[in-house]
């Protein structure tokens, strides 16, 4: 199979003349866009379910249940946004072709993102000890469900970012991988304010 | 259409049958025309399998050609307007509008039996003179009934085919609706929402009787006698 005519599994990086079929966006990024569409709808379903449960309750949050740590989580949200900003710097450096100055913001984004997840973990431990569990009320159930699914996504996104960072260190980070990883992370960051507004406030 | 299968035993049964018939004639005509044209085309332009015959080259992109699709499509829309109007009107009368009641009943569904509660002489529920029956609903002809439907465990569906009435019973909610029986006799009540393995074993009987017979029955089941014939209300 001649390389010039091969289809498919390229991510738009090779310098072969493919103008006739140069994709509008690279495969990895398009795939990630589609995946994110599904994920947005997953969270839309969860948030809708939460709204309905909340409307059905006479008092919300239910009496006798611990309150969620609004201030601490606000701080944590700022950390999450900071990580997105760091990733934006990395994005700019990457598209300037400046891989050297991209390293520090990548590490920063990874570090802040991991801090966010770990901080959430501590929050959970505290809440559990205060008596908010999945079975104690729908309040608790929805809290752990929605925040837990978000945390799972954060894990996945961090893993993907770490993989991109690893490639960066090795010197062959492709736009497809970087684009997919940063898109996923921006999705995780972008959906958080919605969760914070709906679930915490 | 439907009236040839089942008697119309409520005031709105006729409306629903009318809507069904209207939809039937409209879509039936469409179906006949479409399948007529379809078979005519297939037989007219059929060639033997090995034939060398060629076809006409029609893109269908020109306006004069597209007309053959757009005009029927506008006609479909036109017919839809009638159907929508009829559907909305009937729906409004049956499910959204509530005429002032003559009588009220409670219907309680559970796995796998129906409990019907008449309020008794004081016309109030949850009092001592409530009349409970299981798997038998007795109604008075030509009285406007409000029903309050609820469920003790899973979802059920209160369905009375002769009334053309159907309403899901949802645990945790009380759903209000109405009907007016117009024909005396004995009919089926079915559960129309799957409710476990006993779903097929949840038949109840509906007895519609005239006012005198109904009053007599209510008196017979009045709270004084009730103590003697305590109805077997199955607690969950």
């Amino acid at each position: 199979m001649s390389a010039g005519l091969s289809s498919g599994s390229n991510d738009g990086l090779e310098p072969i003349d493919r103008t006739a079929k140069r994709p509008v966006v690279a495969n990895g990024i398009l795939g990630m866009m589609l995946f994110i569409l599904t994920e947005v709808m997953l969270f839309a379903g969860l948030v809708s379910a939460f709204t309905i449960a909340k409307s059905a309750a006479p008092v919300w949050p239910p009496p006798g249940q611990p309150r969620l740590p609004i201030e601490a989580t606000a701080f944590n949200s700022v950390v999450l946004f900071a990580s997105a900003v760091a990733l934006l710097f990395a994005h700019r450096a990457f598209h300037k072709g400046d891989r050297e100055s991209m390293r520090r913001p990548m590490w920063l984004a990874l570090g802040l993102g991991s801090f966010f997840v770990i901080f959430q973990g501590f929050e959970w431990v505290t809440l559990l000890s205060e008596g908010l569990t999945m079975t104690s009320s729908t309040y608790g159930a929805f809290f752990y469900l929605i925040v837990g699914i978000h945390a799972l996504h954060a894990f996945g996104a961090i893993a993907l970012l770490a993989r991109a960072n690893h490639r960066l260190q090795q010197g062959w980070l492709t736009p497809g991988l970087f684009g997919a990883a940063e898109m996923f992370w921006f999705f995780v960051v972008g959906v958080w304010p919605v969760i914070y507004l709906v679930v915490y406030l | 259409m439907i009236e040839s299968y089942l008697p119309q035993a409520s005031t709105f049964a006729g409306d629903i049958d009318w809507l069904f018939s209207m939809v039937f004639w409209i879509v039936g005509a469409w179906f006949l025309v479409c399948s007529g044209v379809f078979f005519w085309l297939v037989f007219k332009f059929r060639v033997p399998n090995g034939s060398q015959a060629t076809a006409e080259y029609i893109t269908g992109e020109e306006k004069s050609q597209k007309r053959w699709v757009t005009i029927p499509h506008l006609l479909v829309l036109f017919c839809d307007v009638f159907i929508i109007y009829g559907a909305v009107k009937v729906w409004y009368d049956v499910k959204q509008y509530l005429p002032p009641p003559d009588q009220e009943i409670q219907i309680i569904a559970q796995q796998w039996a129906w409990t019907f509660v008449h309020p008794g002489a004081d016309q109030k529920f949850d009092t001592a003179d409530d009349i409970h029956t299981v798997n038998e609903l007795r109604l008075q002809e030509d009285a406007v009934y409000h029903y309050h439907l609820s469920s003790n465990d899973v979802m059920h569906d209160f369905s009375v085919p002769v009334f053309r009435l159907k309403q899901d019973a949802i645990p945790g909610r009380v759903i209000t609706g109405w009907f007016t029986p117009t024909e005396s006799g004995e009919f089926d009540i079915q559960c129309a929402e799957i409710c476990g393995i006993g779903h097929g074993l949840m038949p109840a009987r509906l007895v519609v009787e005239d006012a005198a017979a109904h009053t007599a029955w209510l008196a017979e089941r009045s709270p004084v006698k009730l103590a003697a014939v305590t109805s077997p209300v199955v607690e969950n």
Binding site: V24, V25, L37, V40, A56 | V81, V88, Q96
Partner: protein, 84 residues
């Protein structure tokens, strides 16, 4: 996504929706709707129904619409290039 045919359909749909709104009886009166708490739930159901219906449509119009427009644009460019 030829806009011309979509516009025709848009008009028709608008007309029908308008017709539905003209029937205030049907749209407003709800004799069977119950207590205050029910009303809140009812509103939540209607709201989330609208939300879940329009969110995917909005996203698709933005993302897929953008993608299709870009692709068509590029096809046009290429056609011009090959003509030259």
């Amino acid at each position: 996504m030829r806009l011309k045919s979509l516009r025709l359909k848009g008009f028709l749909i608008l007309g029908l929706v308008g017709m539905a709104l003209i029937w205030p009886d049907f749209a407003e009166a709800c004799a069977v709707c119950g207590a205050a708490q029910d009303e809140a739930t009812r509103k939540a159901f209607v709201g989330t129904t609208a939300f879940m219906t329009f969110l995917p449509l909005g996203m698709l119009f933005l993302v897929v619409g953008w993608y299709i427009r870009r692709t068509l644009q590029r096809e046009e460019e290429e056609e011009q290039r090959s003509e030259r």
